[in-house]
């Protein structure tokens, strides 16, 4: 949209040379994958009285029906405005994902029984661990970035080593090393602080690089103008450079926040009762693993969507001076 040219090229999906071969390929794939043998295929075949017929007929029929549905769907959606196209595609894909989950023959009664605990204990712990870790990671990242840009050899050395080590080791290993390793030094650490420490250190290392790149992206002239006006280095950084760097820093940091939200599930290995741990353990007693996993997945997804929306708001805020 931002980069659209002022030329009305024929739309890709409205060209017969794309549309028809595309549908033919879809039909071929469905046929090759024996669409008639799937649960959806069986239901469709039954509808047409072909349940006991030859598998080939069932495959042909099901592939044909699905291809026709897709063809009609594309033709309809192409007629909508851009905004409505996006909404329509979003809703359709979300329904397909939910349908996929629904096909597992889930016990909703079991989910209803367990979801309260999953939310009050699991979600709350996940949010708490993530929020504290994100906060500490941001502080570490700011310190790391400033150290990396300083001319202090000791600070530079520590920051370089820090980002190298904590970006280089698997997060799972860091969690184990902190939870099981620190007691070797005589300092016994609980599971939740260990998890928070590992997540903060790991994400602080990634975000150090984001913050550094953001600060470096601000033109040298901004530093020079600040210095010529007599601003102290601290004021130059906090009043001039960082507010501008935030525009560059926010999008990848939002990415990191979402990634951390889900990586917080790794602290379940040391027995923190967060969302993933509860999803695994609550399902065990009644062999209802799938119900719990899918419920947890959907909760993670909803959380990510909320974070995406917050990120979009923050981006708009820092972009205000760029509007022409």
């Amino acid at each position: 949209m931002h980069y659209a040219d002022n030329v009305d090229y024929p739309r890709l999906l409205s060209r017969p040379s794309i549309y028809i071969p595309g549908l033919a390929i879809l039909f071929g794939i469905l046929l090759y994958a024996q669409a008639g043998a799937t649960s959806l295929g069986q239901a469709l075949a039954g509808l047409f009285g072909l349940a006991e017929g030859s598998p080939l007929m069932a495959n042909l029929l099901v592939a044909l029906v699905i291809t026709a549905v897709v063809a009609i769907n594309i033709a309809v959606v192409m007629r909508l405005s851009l905004r409505h196209q996006v909404y329509a595609v979003w809703v359709e894909l979300a329904l397909l994902v939910l349908l996929f989950f629904y096909s597992f023959d889930l016990s909703f009664e079991f989910i209803r029984r367990k979801i309260g605990f999953l939310l009050t204990q699991g979600l709350v712990t996940t949010l708490y661990v993530s929020a504290v870790s994100i906060f500490i990671a941001s502080i570490l990242a700011m310190i790391g970035a400033i150290a990396k840009l300083s001319s202090n050899g000791i600070a530079l050395g520590i920051a370089n080593f820090y980002t190298s080590l904590f970006r280089g080791l698997p997060l799972l290993m860091q969690i184990y090393m902190i939870y099981l390793g620190l007691p070797q030094l005589g300092y016994v650490i609980n599971a939740v602080p260990a998890g928070i420490l590992a997540l903060s250190l790991c994400y602080g290392a990634y975000m150090t690089e984001i913050f550094r790149a953001g600060i470096e992206s601000i033109p040298k002239g901004q530093w020079e103008a600040s210095r010529a006006l007599g601003l102290k280095p601290k004021d130059t950084l906090t009043r001039i450079i960082l507010p501008q760097a935030m525009r560059i820093i926010v999008p990848p940091t939002g990415n990191q926040f979402i990634a951390m939200l889900k990586d917080s599930s790794l602290v379940s290995v040391v027995g923190v009762w967060e969302l993933m741990y509860l999803a695994r353990t609550q399902g065990q007693t009644e062999f209802r693993h799938v119900e719990m996993m899918i419920t947890a997945s959907l909760i993670y997804w909803i959380l990510s969507i909320v974070l995406e929306l917050i990120q979009a708001r923050i981006e708009r805020r820092f972009n205000k001076a760029q509007v022409r």
Binding site: E224, R227, A228, L229, Q244
Partner: protein, 262 residues
């Protein structure tokens, strides 16, 4: 004007105006690696003097004025600004930067702040002026450069000429004794050059000490007390505008003038 208590040099009893030049540069040399950017430069700028520095690109003219407020370092020689010896010590640099205002080729306005905030930020943080007083002062100088009505816009909403005038007002808000201009009109569209030069001419008329790196020879003729011609890191020739333009002595100066005056 608030002066730092820590600085005995600034607190010296006032001497007669002529005794302390605004800027005194002695035997200044600067190297970028093995390339010598400034070669043994001697230059004194008197109080109230309007100096124009010209020369071909790469001659060291920008580098020279940027050493005056410590935006560039130097290896040999000395610079004394209004009696303050410019060293690398924080107190010395802070004291010099309080006396020297600078205007850049690329304006370097702060894009995340409004025009007014651009002018008040340093007043509040460096001079410790209250918000209200800083805004009054900033609006006074925005009025002088004739754009008070743009005070609440962002720099990106202004034309190049307006942006450069805001940059001048921002520097003036700090009430410097000396103003440095580093090619202030080189990045402007032709029709906006005049409004910036007019502002500078007006400032010169008010007695400000000015060092201007520029190719605007009309401005030099009209406003400058002295023209300095630099080439390859050294001052080749200097004199009053009428001497320099009508009868340049050095071949390099003649060549330069014939090239830029067409």
């Amino acid at each position: 004007m608030i002066r730092s208590k820590k600085l005995p040099l600034v607190e010296m009893p006032p001497r007669p105006m002529e005794a302390v030049p605004a800027v005194e540069i002695r035997n200044l040399s600067k190297w970028y690696g093995s390339f010598q950017a400034l070669k043994d430069v001697d230059l004194t700028i008197a109080r109230g003097e309007k100096l124009v520095i010209c020369g071909p690109s790469g001659s060291g003219k920008s580098t020279l004025i940027r050493t005056v407020n410590a935006l560039e370092s130097f290896q040999e020689g000395r610079i004394v600004v209004d009696g303050i010896e410019l060293t690398r010590k924080p107190e010395a640099v802070e004291a010099v930067r309080k006396k020297v205002g600078m205007v850049f080729q690329q304006f370097n306005l702060f894009p995340h702040l409004t025009v007014l905030e651009n002018c008040t930020l340093a007043l509040r943080l460096v001079r410790g002026v209250s918000q209200k007083e800083a805004e009054e002062k900033a609006l006074h100088y925005l009025g002088k450069v004739r754009i008070p009505e743009q005070a609440h816009k962002y720099a990106s909403q202004l034309s190049g000429g307006q942006q450069q005038r805001v940059a001048i007002a921002r520097a003036l808000s700090m009430q410097p004794d000396i103003m440095l201009f580093d090619e202030p009109t080189s990045a402007l569209d032709p029709e906006m050059v005049k409004e910036v030069l007019d502002t500078m001419t007006q400032l010169a008329g008010e007695g400000m000490t000015m060092a201007v790196v520029t190719h605007e020879m009309g401005f030099a003729r009209q406003v400058a007390d002295r023209v300095v011609f630099m080439d390859r890191g050294e001052i080749v020739e200097q004199g009053t505008p009428s001497e320099f333009f009508s009868n340049p002595k050095e071949l390099r100066a003649r060549t330069f003038l014939s090239q830029i005056l067409h």
